[in-house]
């Protein structure tokens, strides 16, 4: 026994040839792995499908309900962005999808397998982000356009609605799809930082839903701060008549992107420093 070990020790590391051809870990390979992970979970498709259906159904319902112009109608319900209100629901589903894509790895222990395969860790963050962004954008941007077109077709039967070429409409329609994608990315980053699924969901809903309302408790000062929250920054380019005070659409997008960037930075730092 000891003789055998002495012989092997002098032979040095990597003395054995592997029977299996394997390649170095690269970002494209990590991406492929994350894509397999995403598509092989039924819950991914269920949540994405629910967000798509929700956007579509809500747009049709809103269109039908506002088909006739009556006195005392809310201007918001007649604006070009009115039929895309489904994004309120969409941001919950897409956010939860973003959270779960990351946090479920921690709750199931999968993260240990993931890091055993990609021990440098950071490529996993980028790969997950890219897969999530691509899939969500590919679903939510087209469904925003389709929901808009179908709902305006319904309205068009009764009164004059909006077309994509009207001023600001492209911005609102594409912006809605982009907002949902970006807010989902923020959900994913919360997943990396908080790790536990319930904790991450609560943090996400708190940031997107509760904090803006909380801001209103502090009057106009609160509202001025609240316009920099992700949901309010998003509203500046997804809504035709965002609540005042609000940022200019371009500034709103910059603020939302800053939230995404901050999320990525904190998630990466947490990933690098903490035990898995």
């Amino acid at each position: 026994m000891s003789a055998a070990s002495a012989v092997e020790a002098t032979a040095g590391p990597s003395a054995v040839r592997s029977r299996v051809e394997s390649q170095p870990v690269t970002l494209p390979r990590a991406l492929r792995s994350e894509w397999i992970k995403f598509r092989s979970l039924r819950s991914s498709w269920a949540m994405l499908g629910a967000a798509v259906l929700g956007m579509l159904l809500i747009s049709l319902v809103v269109a039908y309900n506002t088909r006739h112009l009556t006195s005392g109608q809310d201007a918001n319900d007649l604006a070009s962005s009115a039929t895309l209100q489904g994004y309120y629901l969409g941001q919950l589903l897409i956010g939860a999808l973003g959270v779960l894509f990351v946090s479920s790895e921690f709750s199931t222990g999968m993260i240990r397998s993931t890091f055993a395969a990609v021990p440098k860790r950071i490529p996993v963050l980028w790969a997950k982000l890219a897969v999530f962004f691509a899939v969500t954008a590919a679903a939510m941007i087209p469904i925003s356009v389709i929901s808009f077109l179908l709902s305006q077709a319904v309205i068009g039967h009764y009164r004059t609605g909006f077309s994509l070429t009207d001023p600001g409409v492209w911005r609102i329609v594409l912006g809605t799809g982009l907002y949902l994608t970006l807010v989902g990315v923020i959900g994913g980053m919360i997943g990396w930082i908080v790790r536990s699924t319930p904790g991450s969901l609560v943090t996400y809903f708190g940031l997107v839903l509760v904090l803006p309302i909380f801001g209103e408790l502090f009057g106009s000062a609160g509202k001025h701060v609240a316009q920099f929250l992700p949901s309010q920054a998003g509203a500046s380019f997804t809504e035709a008549l965002p609540e005042s005070p609000h940022l200019a659409p371009g500034a709103g997008l910059v603020v939302l992107l800053a939230w995404v960037a901050a999320g990525i930075a904190i998630a990466a730092a947490s990933l690098r420093r903490r035990d898995a």
């Binding site: 590391p13 990597s14 054995v16 394997s22 979970l41 999968m110 240990r112 898995a276």
Partner: protein
Amino acid sequence: MIQADSLTKRYGDKLAVDGLTFTVEPGIVTGFLGPNGAGKSTTMRMILGLDTPTSGTVTVNGKPFAEHLRPLAEVGALLEARAVHTGRSARNHLLAMAATAGIGVKRVDEVIGMVGLADVAGRRAGAFSLGMGQRLGIASALLADPQTLILDEPVNGLDPDGVRWIRNLLKGLAEEGRTVFLSSHLMSEMAVTADHVILVGQGRLLRDQSMADFIAEASSDVVRVRSPQAGQLADLLLASGVTVRNIAEQTLEVEGLTSDQIGVTAAGASITLLELSTQTASLEDAYMALTEDSIDYRSTLENTKDAA
């Protein structure tokens, strides 16, 4: 080869691993032993870079694990806690792992066949029994045919067939010159699988030696003698350095003399011997003798029985 140098991990005020220095050599199976809470799993997690050491270093084939370009080909790991998403099928889990190393479907199906999961590979891993989950973990460890295997309780939940399979597999891989590092609480299994033993207790290294030396040093052999004149024989045998215990009617256990010496003494006094046999100490005996003082989580059943 795994080399740990003064490896230390502190969680809050508990020192889980306390200055461990050891080398796991290729070409043999090394058993990693110690009571619950001795720091075995933490050590394995540090080898894989899942936990960062508070101080000290650990390398695999000369480099920290995370610095290897082909991590799956370097180390195949099975960690104690399940490391699989419960909603994903076994095959998709392995495909996702394999994709990071550019390993294709063919090899994935091959390891699924090797571990005997071919019939259930399409089922959710969450529905797997303990043994099936363990087989899946072994499959992912073997995926890239790694240089080094780190297995935490691999036979846990396996059927006897599976236990024998993993034993032969690990011995075979070690013979090819791979490094096999294995923890288990099943002493009988460890005794027939491992060539070398690293024993830890309360995070500290207690022993690092060959299986044979480990057993021989930790407990001495005992000779069992049965004789109608046991009392007379006991008086004759008692000398300095010799312990004689009367363990049953007509039966003695003698420590400090060989069976030859006892036989000759008995013959000289015309004492009839009905049985004379050397009781070789087992790995379990050696383990118990060495870890007595370092057990964190001892069963208190005996105490409660006394109280009742």
